[in-house]
Structures are given as C-alpha cells and as structure tokens.
C-alpha cells in the first residue's frame, strides 16, 4: 500500500484576529494538527491600540480542503474574519525580499543593471557585495532571485506576502 496525496491549488487567506498571546500558535498549530500546508505566513498588528492583527497565509489544497481550512480558522475564538483573496476576486499581493550578492567586475555591473530593471534598491554596499531590497509579487521576486543566483547570490531573506482586495471594499 502507498500513501496517496491530492492535487492542490494555491490560496491566499487573510485573517483579522485578536492580537493576544497564543493566537499565532493557535492558528499555526491548527494547520499542522489538521495536516494543512502553510507556504508563507505574515503577521503584524494593524490598529492604533495594537488590539487587532492581520495575518496573511498562503496555503495549498483541493477546494474542499481550502473550504475546511477557512471553517477551521473561523472556529478559533480570537479569529474575527477570514477572507479568501484568491476566491474573492481582484487583489494585490506584495512581498519584500533582501538579497545579498557577492561579485566583482562584469558580474557586479550586471547585478546592478538587473536590479535597476527590477526596481530593487541597494541598501548596503561594499566593494565586493550588495544587499538589494526588492518588493513585488512573489513571481517577480522569484525571478529576480533566480537571476541573482547566476551572479553571486549569497543569501536571501523574504517576508512572505501580505495581500488586500483591490477597490474600495474591506477584505
């Protein structure tokens, strides 16, 4: 007998939650306990009094599983609202990455030129290295990192994405 796995689609969920001890552990742990995927997760408080946080989770699963994930999130007491941005329609997704590249000569010049094209900013420089800061959708960042791999990539830090619905509506 072999263990079977199902095909999955990517969904971006945003959760408005009470900013209190244990909320993140509750959500992340629920994903693990029920065998759901987390591709990325970001969290920060978003109100003046720091009482509410927004969490953006990128997950994968067949439609029934995504539906269950949303229902299971909603079941947690500190979770007020869950929005499936992928289902809700047009939305924006942004991520920030820091990309360190070592190199001299042609490679260094080429890294700078590509950074310019991708609107990455240099936030640290030595004679033999750069740190670029780049924001954008995950695809753009993936491509930029792939290019830098050829030009002396040393290390990468990524925030994971945050997302909002387009237009005037609240997500």
């Amino acid at each position: 007998m072999k263990i079977q796995t199902e095909t999955a689609e990517r969904h971006v969920l945003t959760l408005t939650v009470d900013n209190e001890a244990g909320t993140l552990a509750r959500i992340a742990g629920m994903f693990t306990a029920r065998g759901y995927n987390i591709d990325s997760l970001t969290v920060a408080d978003i109100t003046e009094d720091h009482s509410v946080s927004r969490i953006t989770i990128v997950t994968k699963g067949p439609p029934e599983v995504i539906d269950q994930i949303i229902a299971q999130c909603e079941r947690l007491i500190p979770v007020h609202k869950v929005t499936d941005l992928t289902d809700a329609g047009p939305h924006v997704e942004r991520e920030l990455a820091l990309v360190k590249v070592n190199g001299t000569g042609d490679k260094r010049v080429e890294a700078m030129r590509l950074a310019d094209i991708y609107r990455a900013r240099v936030i640290d420089a030595t004679v033999s290295s750069f740190i670029f800061e780049i924001t954008g959708g995950p695809d753009k960042i993936d491509t930029f990192i792939a290019l830098m791999r050829e030009l002396g990539l040393v290390e990468v830090g990524r925030t994971g994405i945050v997302g909002l619905m387009r237009g005037s509506e609240n997500s």
């Binding site: 244990g22 552990a25 029934e64 539906d67 269950q68 229902a71 909603e74 079941r75 007491i77």
Partner: protein, 581 residues
C-alpha cells in the same frame, strides 16, 4: 471597593456562574484556591483519586445535567493527567471549564518544579484556553470561559492560573465582570434554507432523520421538537452513538443506532433513502463506512451549529448553520403553516419492515453461560422503570449497551464516542451521581477498561455515591480480540486480560458490595440484589468469553456490506482496509 485575592475572585466568579460542584485534586500550585474553597462552603468539592477521573466526572456531570462541568487541578502532572478528559470533552462537545494551577509568572519558562506548558499542551484539544497573568483579568476570563464552553458547539475551556496571580489582589465586581461577547455562535437558521429543507422532506418518498449528539447538546426542547418533526413527516429516525435518547427507542419510527455496529435497518435505510436530514451529527467515519458508497442516491440536508462540520467528509446539498433545536422548531413552524402532508410512505416502511425482519441484533442463545447481550437485556428490563443513567467504558460492552439498552429520554446515556476513552465510565458515573443523588447510575464496564480508572472507587465510597458498576467480564479486551479475529487471522497479540483482580474482594476492600454471577438462571436475582443495595456495587458478570459484537460494517466497507454474524467472518483484510481502522 475592597481588593480581593485572585483566589477569592475566582471563587466569586464561579459562584456568579452558578457553579455548585467542582471535581478536583489539590497540589502546590493551587493551594491558594483550595484555601479560598475552604472558606466558601457553597461550592461542593469532589476529591477524586486521579485528575483524569476529575475531568471524566465533570463530563458525566455535564452530560447528565446539561450544566457545565468544572475541574480544578494543580500544575504540571495535575494538568497533564487531566488532558485525556479534556480531549474527550473536545471530541464529544461537552462543556467543561478546567482550572489549572501554574507556577508563578516570574518562573514560567524556567523549568520550575511542576511546570508544564499547559496552554501549549491543551491548545488543540480545547475550544479555547487562557493563561491569566493578572488577577484583574480573572473575572472577565472566567465569565468568557463559561460563555465559550456552553454556547455554540460546547467544549472544554482551560484557564491556567499562576500561583502568584491567585495570591495577588485586584478589584472585582461580579456585575462588571467583563464577559467580552466576542464569541457569538449561530442561533436561528436562515428561513429560506429551512423552507427548502421542509419542501424536500414533504416531497420525499423515502426520507430519514439522521440525528446526533447535537440534539442533546441543544437541550431538552430539541429532543421534544425532534419527536414532533418525526411525527409530522412520518420519517424513520436513526441516531449516532452520541445521540441515543434524543428520540425514544420505544417509538415505532425508531430504527436503532446506525454505523459500524448499528442495526441492519438503520444502515440500509441510510443507504437507500432519497432525502437525508442530518440533525446535529457529523458524518463520522464510524457512521459513514466507505465514503464513496455512502448513501449514493440521497439529497442531503445538514443542520449543524459548527460550520466546520459541514462538508468535512461528506458533501451535502443543503447546509444549514444553526442551533439544531431552533432549526427543528423552525421546520415545524413552516410545515404547519403550509399545512403540508407527507408523501405516502407505505412502500418505504414496507422495505424497512423487510430489513427489520433480518433481526440483526439477535445472537446465539445459551443456557450454560451468560451471553453478554443477554446480560444487558436483563439489566435493561430490570431497571427501565427507574429511567437509569447509563455510562460505559469502551469496547464490545459499550456497543452491546448501545444496541441492547434502550433510552426514551436524553441525558441518560453517557459514553465516550469520539475519543473512545477506556476508563471514562466509572468517573462519569460518579459525576452523574453528583448531579442527581437520587438517580440510578450504572456503569456498564469491561474488565479491562474498568481498571483504567478503578481508583475512583474510593471517590464513590467517600461521598456515599451508590453507583453500580456492571462489568461484562469476558476476560478479553474483547473489541481488540474481535478485530484480531477478523483482520489478523486470530493472532491474539496481547489482548487477553490476564491477572485480573478478584472484583468482589476488591469491591469489599473499598467498602463496596461485590456480586459475582456466571449462571444465566441466577442473573435476574443477582441484578435485583445489586439494585436493592443502598450503596455502591461492583457486579462481576462472567459472560461468554468469545462472543463477538454484530452486526458490523468492517472498516472500509459500505453500509450494504454488513457482517451479520460470525459465520460471515473471513479472518483477513487487505492493507487498505487494515490502515483505515
């Protein structure tokens, strides 16, 4: 306003919730609370013998009274010992508030003596949990804990209280106790959905009501409403293990329990119905059998207060998120206001009659030895007039009790369904007896399970609780042996109950009465002797050792593939089926 200690605030907050009974066990990290209890005689504290017993007793109390059960245990081992009961309550949706002591806030994280990360350990087996870091939060937390535990789909809530928070002082006014109403569960159902559901029922030619523990959790009126709905629609009624008693077993529309050890008629009717109305049940794997063969031709309506229960395993056509009792009342209103009449269901009932004639609960009779099913039948016949509360352990005896003991009222059947926890029955019986000192409370036990919380005999003795423990003693972990016989060609690996205690002598050692019986001809008298004894009794009922529990849907099989008796048993199973369990 005078400041009060955290411990005093806790006690007052409990009193404000109407708590009069707490099941607990003391220790270093809860001594301030125990001292406050000492000064507040209004709260009865039931001293158990092991914290698992406290949690199960609170479950039994909650399930039989409809009130939340309250547990008080110390930090570290006190809390971890209670975890099985907490997880059990989570699976079976039982309202508990579990108060755990914790090391002082300045010691948390330092591996202090008797420190355990209680909120971490219980995070995924509670509906919610708290670590209270300031006594000023306690009043609000306790109020919210009771709200969360009891409203919506009930469940356990853990409140972890560090020792210094119990000692430190703060203001408390029970009226301003901030029960932040951030948790607002579903109530009434959407009227349009109810109308659709009623129209489906009125058009159905072969409807069925598939009911579960949600009806019992919704309260006695939900059971009353279910009876009315069944009468109006003329539909047959089946139930999960957890829902037994919500619909009277004496009603002609009752099909018996469904699922793995359910009746032939219940499972076939589920398979063949055209409209299935699922009321407060959750399509558990023990109920559905093989998913792709589950009731293939039916339109399915599912009413549940927990949205995550809907479409979890079975896709339904009409989901209704609501309190099931309210939803049934709404259905009745719509049915009546439209003066609906059911279709002619004669043909459907004729088919059901055919399935009933299979008599799937029959078993081979014996004059020489007590058949376990017979023991439960006799226990039922001799006690039914007293409307007893029955608890069980886990195993064959539990399923036989579900099959052969019959319930006409809710809150009389207390069993560990979701988690299947051996050792549940005796403490649950103690909790139920605390809830009603006049009730006849019987734990139908197995000789293996009873040993898992047998220390609670001392609790029953101490509080003069006349609980009866009726052990179906087959000298086997019968359910394990049965599976080994069916699946592993009778290789009985470690399932024999060796070195059993002398249960009669044990009973006497605890100040109980002990009775033993192995002769079917003497069984009635022995049961009568148990019932007439005004105090706790342990009844060692020696039954036929190799009896198996049928009917049975083997794991991974469809409802139509029931095994009715042992002649049909093959003794092997393929790997896919073995993995399902």
């Amino acid at each position: 306003m005078a400041e009060k200690s955290g411990a005093d605030i806790l006690i007052e907050a409990l009193l404000a919730q109407g708590v009069d009974t707490v099941f607990g066990y003391p220790g270093g990290a809860v001594l301030p609370i125990y001292d406050a209890l000492f000064q507040h005689p209004k709260i009865r504290h039931v001293l158990v013998r092991h914290e698992a017993g406290a949690a199960h007793a609170a479950e039994g109390y909650a399930r039989s009274t409809g009130k939340p059960g309250v547990v008080l245990v110390t930090s570290g081992p006190g809390a971890t010992n209670a975890v099985t009961g907490i997880a059990d309550a989570f699976m079976d949706s039982i309202p508990l508030v579990v108060l755990t002591g914790q090391v002082a806030t300045n010691l948390i994280g330092s591996d202090a003596f008797q420190e355990a990360d209680t909120v971490g350990i219980t995070r995924h087996c509670t509906k919610h949990n708290y670590l209270v870091k300031d006594p000023s939060e306690l009043g609000g937390v306790i109020a919210e804990a009771f709200h969360i535990a009891t409203q919506g789909r009930p469940g356990p809530v853990v409140v972890d209280i560090p020792k210094n928070v119990q000692v430190a002082t703060a203001d408390y006014d029970r009226h301003t106790g901030n029960a932040a109403k951030r948790y607002v569960p579903a109530g009434d159902a959407d009227f349009a959905l109810i109308t659709q559901a009623v129209e489906l029922l009125a058009k159905a030619k072969s409807p069925i009501l598939y009911t579960g523990g949600g009806i019992i959790n919704s309260g006695p009126d939900a059971s009353a409403a279910l009876r009315e709905l069944a009468a109006l629609t003329g539909a047959p009624v089946t139930s999960t293990l957890m829902g037994l008693g919500a619909f009277p077993a004496s009603d002609p529309a009752w099909l018996g329990m469904l699922g793995m050890h359910g009746t032939y008629e219940a499972n076939l009717a589920m398979n063949q119905c055209d409209v299935m109305l699922c009321l407060g049940a959750r399509f558990d794997d023990r109920v559905t059998g093989r998913l792709d063969a589950f009731s293939p031709g039916s339109i399915k309506v599912h009413v549940d207060i927990d949205r995550s229960s809907i479409n979890k395993t079975i896709r339904v056509d009409l989901p209704i998120v609501a309190d099931v009792g309210k939803a049934i009342r709404q259905m009745i209103t719509v049915w009546n206001s439209r003066k609906l009449q059911p279709q002619n269901l004669d043909e459907w009932w004729a088919r059901i009659k055919g399935w009933r004639s299979v008599d799937s609960l029959s078993y081979p009779d014996s004059k020489a030895e007590i058949m376990p099913q017979y023991a439960i039948e006799r226990l039922y016949e001799l006690t039914k007039d007293r409307s007893p509360i029955i608890t069980t352990e886990v195993g064959q005896h539990q399923m036989w009790a579900a099959q052969h003991f019959h319930f006409d009222a809710p809150n009389k059947w207390l069993t560990s369904g979701g988690l299947g926890t051996m050792g549940y029955g005796l403490p649950a019986a103690i909790g139920a007896q605390m809830g009603d000192m006049d009730a006849l409370v019987i734990d139908i036990a197995g000789e293996a399970s009873i040993q898992m919380n047998i220390q609670e005999m001392g609790t029953a003795s101490q509080y003069r609780l006349p609980v009866k423990v009726f052990i179906i003693n087959n000298e086997w972990m019968g359910m394990v042996r049965q599976w080994q016989q069916l699946t592993y060609e009778s290789r009985y690996s470690n399932s024999y109950s060796d070195s059993l205690p002398d249960f009669v002598a044990l009973a006497e050692a605890y100040g109980w009465k002990g009775i033993r019986c192995s002769d079917p001809a003497k069984l009635d008298d022995a049961i009568a002797e148990m019932l007439s004894f005004d105090g706790p009794v342990m009844f060692d009922c020696r039954v036929s050792k190799e009896a198996n529990c049928f009917p049975m849907i083997p794991s991974g099989a469809a409802h139509t593939e029931m095994i009715l008796n042992s002649e049909e048993v093959s003794g092997t199973m393929d790997d896919e089926a073995k993995a399902l369990v």
